[in-house]
């Protein structure tokens, strides 16, 4: 272990949410859940531990999937493996289950939490595009004036940059919520990398829309790894909204993808390849929906 772990002087593993929120009220706690991003980042020196390490795994009410009502609620400590195995989500939002299936490896899925994956704010975060097309929001809680306060932030406003979100240091992401998709809602997710297993996305594309009379409505398209944050592809959405799902519409959406995706060259892929893949995936998910 490196010297960074020696920076930790206090370890807390509370059972109640208010205890957890109080422990981070001064903004001086490192939150630990699955640790699949935290451990390698601190080990490599990319991130430093604060003096207080706050394990939220035992906090009651932070885990679990509530899928009975009109609003679906996934607790922050829910693991990616739990999402993958959820029969309820497989029915309500199969796109999320599919993304969980393509997420890293079995071992990482077993440990990684949904909340952690979102707070890590990687442009390549696998859970972000499907949640964006589901219109999800995150709940952020904090302790202020002797009481817990919670605010909701739409996921598309949550990400600010690589590793950066609007969440304040004293806030804890407690849950992800989204409205139960209406009848006729379809969603697709597609990602790629140079190797099928244990992959970090070169590019990912998700589509969510209501299909009625051969036309798309309430279209949401999200992309990963094409910009500093996962993003909503507004130009592609505009090219699809209210349009008949035919070849001309697909071509227009593919052309519009270039307006939304502003990728960079990095170790994993060139900007050219990412732009190319975005077009391929936009066409692929639309063709897939057309085929249904």
């Amino acid at each position: 272990m490196s010297e960074t772990i020696e920076a930790i002087t206090t370890y807390l593993a509370p059972r109640r949410l208010d205890e957890a929120l109080q422990a981070m009220a001064d903004g001086e706690a490192t939150v630990l859940c699955g640790g699949t991003d935290l451990a390698p980042q601190t080990e490599s020196g990319a991130r430093q531990y604060k003096a207080r390490l706050l394990n939220i795994n035992r906090v009651e009410g932070l885990g679990g999937i509530a899928a009975d009502g009109g609003e679906i609620r996934i607790g922050a400590t829910t693991t990616v493996a739990e999402i993958r195995r959820s029969a309820a989500l497989a029915k309500i939002a199969p796109v999320l289950v599919e993304a969980a299936e393509h997420f890293a490896s079995e071992q990482i899925r077993n440990a990684a939490s949904l909340g952690g994956n979102l707070c890590n704010a990687s442009p390549a975060g696998d859970m972000s595009p499907p949640l964006l097309v589901l219109g999800a929001a995150v709940e952020l809680a904090c302790w202020r004036d002797g009481a817990a306060h919670t605010r909701r932030v739409p996921l598309e406003q949550f990400f600010v940059g690589p590793g950066k979100t609007v969440k304040l240091a004293q806030e804890l992401l407690t849950a992800v919520v989204f409205a139960r998709p209406a009848p006729g809602f379809v969603a697709r997710f597609r990602k790629s990398g140079p190797r099928p297993a244990l992959e970090i996305s070169t590019v990912s594309v998700a589509l969510g829309a209501r299909v009625a009379d051969g036309r798309l409505g309430d279209v949401r398209v999200a992309m990963g790894s094409v910009a500093p944050t996962p993003l909503r592809a507004r130009h592609v959405e505009a090219a699809l909204e209210g349009r008949p799902l035919d070849a001309a519409t697909v071509a227009a959406a593919v052309a519009a993808a270039a307006e939304d995706a502003k990728p960079i060259d990095d170790v994993r892929a060139s900007a050219w390849y990412r732009s190319h893949l975005v077009k391929v995936f936009v066409e692929e998910v639309l063709d897939d929906v057309r085929g249904n």
């Binding site: 010297e3 140079p194 190797r195 099928p196 297993a197 052309a255 391929v280």
Partner: protein, 786 residues
């Protein structure tokens, strides 16, 4: 025909060709094995290295005072502590540097009570550098105005090799077709699961004991000695279990003398162990090269000549990497019948990481070129590549231009077996016809082959091995052998052979092969040689023991030795297998009699091969072998992803000894070859490695391993143990060009700069389409149709 191993062979059964498990497998599978990485010695300190982190620089000032004052630090060493202690193939390396020539150059080293303290101390060392312009390709290094990396190597020239045979100009004039390409095989590294580690300790007589991962313990002493100013005789090498080598431990690397220098300075054992990131940055690589190859043939498909002009990226120092042309030229001159040959290779120093030896040793790079040019020429003469290969195949008894004697050559049989098993010719035609048809996913099939030494390679004065075999009063056998076990399975092979010869159970054979003060000399694990060489040595020693035992049995039993055999733990009558006397009882009788004798024999086996020599005209291996791979793939022409659906392998193995070990070696070798072909790539930016982690350096993992259809051709090698040949490198060598040829069959695209990563393939397909129909398509899939 599969045979099942019996714990003890009886009269009519043989263990040869059966499936025998590796003796160390249960311990490794259950986590019981104590690897070198786990070892802790009393009083042991941890050594940590300060790496330069820049490719080319002068060291202006170095201040270690803060590090030295940190409590728990026992020693801080810098370049001045290693002055003059040059080591390496051309004595261009030193454990601690006074100038920076590559990113991982070792500038200083610390020994401390704990890893944390050592790490903190390294961070406290202040170094002022003056960066120098660097050289990052061999072309740039060869330029007249290139910055000089080593003062005593003008022109940045490291080793050079050449070989000519026949009249290439005349052969070219007589050629109807010539292919002419430049191939640029890339940097990859071994990725051993056990990271580099050494523990060094001196006694008060000045003798060094080093626990290390080396795969050549005896010449290692000779190579390590100058790095420490020691006599090689004062070095004892102990080889604990290791997590892989694959050629990466066939040289001395700086962390080993660093551990020893720190141990000498502190008087305590010092362990240096790399993190995964350090392992990526500081390990040797497979040598990248620029191979300008030309091959010609006549209209009827007869090869006329092959020429190769090779520029090698040496990296900053000369390890074994730059010697790979010795093997490359054997392939250029001997991969099929080539009447005229011209081979030139020059290694150029650069400020990149430096190359070592790696399974396949130059043949991986070279076969990527030769096997694709075979495919291209077949296309030009409009022949089925199978027929083209068969037309130019050597037969048993032929001698290559470099005097490799192909005494038992099963190339034709390998080609026919693999082609038939995979239905190659039909599929190739069918897929080629579909190349430009609409559709996103394309199937392709590709054939490639290669030749490799399979009976050692006499690049040293001897290619031999020493063996000592002894038996105790309970008929337990100990084999003290020079053959190192680095995971390749020689432990199982030796055990099997002893059991076969002496009729004792496999579990009654113990190996002592990890201490240079005990076991006799051997060249080391390389050149696909260990089963061949150590197998012969073991069999010879076991047969000497057997002769001694049966002579004693003759005296005791009054039956002629020729009619007796050792089977099932007893002396038996050869004809019927009837046990006459228990072996342990006989051994005790021999031991405790008036004229006592113990069974303890020695053997030194030297294969019948000729030294390589400066002219490169010698039968340098005691055997040669061929393998054919046929890869079947599906290409996503939009994303460029290649899925390998199946690989059919036909390999001349001489004779199967341990079928399980053979299968494991072929599968493991293929996994390395597949990674090389498809995904592995060290991304260097001005000499700095950008993907020093398994997250971004893509090994092949289990889900990507395709189904394998393995066919072992038994050509019965007269020199090999029971007819066996060496087998372990060909699986790594042949697969990449088989996939490249399949990619061409599927898409009409060829990749000259591996790996065939999705992006590289997608771009090549995209560019090909843009040439045919530029700018007409509005969507990616529409582009497929035009």
């Amino acid at each position: 025909m599969e045979k099942t191993a019996n714990a003890t062979p009886t009269a009519k059964q043989t263990l040869i060709g059966t499936r025998v498990k590796k003796p160390d497998a249960p311990d490794k599978a259950t986590g019981k094995t104590r690897y070198i990485n786990d070892m802790v010695l009393p009083q042991m300190l941890i050594g940590k290295v300060l790496f330069a982190g820049r490719p080319h620089a002068k060291i202006v000032r170095i201040d270690t005072s803060a590090a030295e004052q940190l409590p728990g630090v026992h020693a801080v060493l810098t370049g001045k502590d290693a002055t003059g202690l040059k080591f390496g193939f051309v004595r261009d390396n030193v454990a601690l540097k006074d100038k920076v020539r590559c990113e991982h150059d070792e500038i200083a080293a610390v020994a401390a009570e704990s890893e944390d303290i050592a790490r903190q101390a390294v961070a406290l060392i202040e170094v002022e550098y003056e960066d120098l312009p660097g050289v990052f390709t061999p072309e740039d290094g060869a330029r007249e105005d290139a910055p000089l990396i080593h003062d005593n190597f003008p022109g940045n020239k490291s080793l050079a090799f050449d070989f000519q045979h026949g009249d290439v100009a005349a052969a070219e004039a007589a050629s109807d077709f010539v292919v002419d390409n430049v191939f640029r095989p890339h940097h990859v590294t071994h990725c051993c699961m056990g990271t580099s580690c050494a523990i060094a300790d001196f006694d008060h007589n000045g003798k060094l004991t080093i626990w290390t991962q080396t795969q050549y313990p005896y010449n290692y002493k000779m190579d390590l000695a100058p790095a420490l100013g020691l006599h090689p005789g004062d070095i004892r090498v102990i080889q604990p279990p290791i997590g892989g080598a694959f050629g990466s431990k066939l040289d001395v690397y700086p962390y080993e003398p660093i551990a020893a220098l720190l141990a000498r300075k502190t008087g305590r054992p010092v362990k240096v162990i790399y993190s995964r990131e350090e392992e990526f940055k500081a390990s040797p690589t497979r040598q990248p090269a620029i191979i300008h190859m030309r091959t010609g043939c006549t209209r009827d498909g007869t090869l006329t000549f092959r020429s190769a002009d090779v520029l090698l990226d040496n990296g900053a120092y000369t390890s074994w990497g730059p010697t790979i042309p010795v093997i490359m030229m054997r392939t250029v001159s001997g991969h099929y019948r080539v009447p005229a040959v011209d081979f030139k290779a020059q290694a150029i120093y650069t400020n990149n990481p430096y190359a070592g030896s790696f399974r396949g040793y130059g043949n991986v790079q070279c076969t990527y070129a030769t096997a694709q040019q075979m495919d291209m020429l077949a296309d030009m003469v409009d022949m089925d590549p199978l027929a083209f290969h068969l037309k130019n195949s050597q037969k048993s008894g032929e001698i290559t231009p470099q005097k490799s004697f192909l005494r038992e050559c099963a190339l034709v049989e390998c080609l026919e077996t693999a082609a038939q098993a995979s239905d190659y010719s039909r599929k190739r035609k069918e897929y080629a016809a579909q190349q430009d048809a609409p559709g996103r996913y394309k199937k392709g099939i590709g054939l490639a082959s290669s030749i490799h030494n399979a009976g050692g390679a006499k690049i040293h004065k001897s290619d031999g091995i020493g063996t000592i075999l002894k038996m105790d009063d309970y008929a337990r056998v100990t084999v003290i052998t020079g053959a190192s076990e680095i995971g390749q399975g020689i432990d199982a092979v030796i055990t099997l052979i002893v059991s076969e010869e002496l009729g004792v159970p496999l579990e009654h054979v113990t190996l002592v092969n990890n201490d240079s003060d005990i076991a006799p000399w051997d060249v080391g694990v390389h050149a696909s040689r260990t089963t061949f060489i150590a197998g012969n040595g073991t069999r010879r020693a076991a047969r000497k023991a057997k002769a001694q035992i049966l002579a004693a049995a003759e005296k005791v039993l009054g039956e002629p030795a020729e009619t007796l055999e050792l089977r099932g733990g007893s002396v038996v009558r050869d004809q019927c297998g009837t046990p006459i006397i228990k072996l342990d009882r006989l051994l005790r009788q021999m031991h405790f009699q008036a004229e006592p004798e113990l069974v303890m024999v020695t053997d030194y086996y030297e294969p019948k091969s000729e030294p390589e020599g400066a002219q490169h005209m010698s039968d340098h291996s005691a055997a040669y072998s061929h393998a054919v791979h046929i890869a079947e793939i599906t290409v996503d022409t939009l994303t460029g992803e290649i899925k390998v659906d199946k690989v059919t392998v036909a390999q001349d193995v001489g004779r199967i000894i341990n079928r399980m070990g053979l299968e494991g070696q072929v599968e493991g070798g293929l996994a390395i070859g597949l990674g090389y072909a498809l995904s592995e790539n060290m991304l260097l930016d001005h000499g700095l490695l950008k993907n020093a982690s398994f997250r971004d350096y893509k090994l092949i993992t289990a889900p990507e391993m395709p189904p394998l259809d393995l066919h072992f051709i038994e050509s019965d090698c007269a020199e090999g143990p029971y007819g066996a040949k060496g087998i372990s490198e060909l699986p790594t060598i042949v697969i990449a060009p088989a996939i490249a040829n399949a990619l061409y069959n599927a898409t009409g695209v060829r990749i000259f700069n591996p790996p065939m990563s999705p992006e590289t393939v997608a771009r090549a397909i995209h560019e090909r389409r843009m040439q045919t129909a530029p700018g007409k398509a509005t969507t990616p899939s529409e582009a497929l149709a035009v």
